[in-house]
């Protein structure tokens, strides 16, 4: 069996550069995610100003924040969906509880427990 050695990256040429100006592809990705973000409940908004994103690193921060927020919002909705059915009176109470819980949540909850708020641009 032939083993092909793939050369390691030449770091002089391929310097890691999150400050590279944003490409048209990443700009598009940011724009599409902004469309999606606007449809999320406001508590999941990340408060990064997309028009001010200039670099790949800044774009990456925004892309991560909204992608994780989309997953979190769907996860939350799915959790509510599997809640056993209740009688009407209790349903109303459940909705009331849900609202107050949402209001208590500062922002989208991340895996590491930090909120999306305050994640500034790179």
């Amino acid at each position: 069996m032939t083993v092909i050695k793939v050369p390691a990256l030449d770091l002089k040429q391929s310097a890691y550069d999150p400050n590279r100006p944003i490409s048209s592809l990443l700009k598009t990705q940011v724009e599409h995610l902004h469309v999606a973000e606007k449809r999320l409940p406001s508590r999941y908004h990340c408060e990064i100003y997309v028009n001010a994103i200039r670099t790949e690193g800044e774009a990456a921060n925004y892309i991560r924040a909204v992608t994780e927020a989309i997953h979190a919002a769907h996860k939350e909705a799915a959790a509510l969906r599997v809640t056993p059915a209740h009688k009407r009176g209790i349903e109303i109470a459940a909705v009331a509880d849900e609202r107050s819980e949402c209001q208590r949540k500062p922002r989208a909850v991340k895996k590491n427990g930090k909120s999306a708020k305050g994640r500034g641009r790179a």
Binding site: T2, L25, T28
Partner: protein, 402 residues
């Protein structure tokens, strides 16, 4: 059904970014004349009328700045050389002119004709020569990323030729929805690199069905544990970014990202499948690029069955409407499986609509509704033109050491 197809349980598609066939694989004509790449008679005129030949001077990075224009009007210029005559013929003579338009620098505009040597791209070179390389796989549209990738997911771009968000129009469904809603149920997943790279398919799939997505780390785990879905679509890393595990270098090969990083990523996907013996025997991997990224290729895109949508003259930006009746520029495409004879070269015409067409046909059989473009697209796992044709599985397939 032939043996290779009998054993096939998984289809994996890895879609890279923005490189043309001649740019990446054109040098292979020198080792196999059946591969339709670079020959001595090819050229493009520069803006002074001087012929510019393709040259093996491509670099991994820092050569294609600014990003070559590959929006619809620019690609129209690249394909037709600037002619707007109603009876014009595709001649692939406008690449240097198009790149000149971005910097007004005659010398720099010649970079668009550069191609890689085999030595520079050991992974693609080995895969293309050891398995099946497609001489005629074209982008679905002579335009940019988003609308081309739409063809890979839906078999149509719903009339779009640009980068704007689009909506899925009834009655069409993504190939993923077709599979997971089928009876019996099939499995399908899109693997993006990580949440910081995410996906290009945001507005429809990620926003509405995030459960379809996994990370590349999960892809590696699913390969190792034998839990790969029936159909997997893998996206590379689209950005340089930092994670808890370190600095991640973009691997999508989109100019001006490092091409060598993409080579390593392709090798990683291949190795992940090959290192699980059962998975290797029952999987085929298609490596394909979404579009040519404005970079030179010499094969005129053919006409094709029109889609049921038409982009207006205003939308195309050329002053002419587009009926989706011509394919985009040719891109690299390689099919990998231990059931494929070494050195296979495929000459039938394919485009990204062939992806949902093939996946749907293989797992679900006849299925409707599908777009006219998808319905008429050739299948890369067609039993009648079988590429997985060996009676016994190969044991001489290469391994990549990274």
């Amino acid at each position: 059904m032939p043996t290779g197809l009998d054993n096939l349980k998984h289809i994996v598609v890895l879609m890279m970014e923005n490189r043309s066939f001649d740019h990446m694989l054109g040098s292979l004509t020198a080792v196999n004349p059946n591969i339709d790449g670079i020959t001595a008679d090819l050229s493009n005129p520069d803006t002074k009328g001087n012929p510019v030949a393709p040259q093996p001077k491509a670099q991994y990075q820092s050569q294609l700045q600014p990003d070559p224009d590959h929006h619809f009007p620019a690609v129209d210029l690249q394909i037709f050389g600037g002619s707007t005559d109603p009876n014009r013929q595709a001649n692939m003579q406008g690449f240097v002119k198009s790149y000149f338009n971005q910097q007004q620098d005659v010398g720099h505009s010649q970079n668009i004709m550069y191609y890689f040597t085999q030595k520079q791209l050991p992974v693609l070179t080995i895969l293309a020569t050891e398995f099946a390389v497609f001489n005629r796989w074209f982008a679905s549209i002579p335009g940019p990323t988003v609308c081309n990738r739409a063809f890979a997911h839906y078999g149509t771009s719903f009339g779009r030729v640009d980068m704007n968000p689009f909506e899925i129009l009834e009655p069409f469904k993504s190939v993923y929805e077709r599979l997971i809603n089928a009876t019996p149920k099939h499995t399908a997943k899109l693997y993006y690199y990580d949440t910081t790279s995410s996906t290009i398919e945001v507005v429809n799939l990620l926003q509405n069905q995030p459960e379809l997505f996994g990370t590349y780390q999960q892809f590696l785990q699913d390969c190792a544990s034998g839990n790969l879905p029936d159909y997997s679509f893998v996206e590379p890393n689209y950005s340089d970014h930092a994670t808890s595990s370190g600095e991640q270098i973009a691997s999508d090969q989109h100019p001006d990202h490092n091409v060598q990083a993409g080579e390593l990523f392709v090798a990683s996907v291949y190795n992940a499948i090959k290192q699980n013996a059962d998975l290797w025997a029952s999987t085929t991997l298609l490596i394909v690029y979404d579009e040519h990224g404005g970079i030179y290729d010499h094969v005129p895109p053919p006409s094709c069955t029109p889609d049921q949508f038409t982009a207006s003259a205003n939308d195309t930006g050329t002053g002419m409407p587009f009926a989706f009746d011509r394919l985009g520029v040719r891109v690299p495409a390689i099919l990998v499986s231990p059931w494929i004879p070494s050195g296979t070269v495929v000459n039938n015409v394919f485009d990204h609509a062939s992806i949902p067409a093939t996946v749907t046909k293989y797992f679900l059989g006849d299925f409707s509704p599908r777009s006219p473009r998808e319905t008429s697209a050739n299948l890369f796992l067609d039993p009648n033109q079988n590429l997985l044709s060996l009676g016994e599985m190969r044991t001489d397939c290469p391994d990549f050491s990274t």
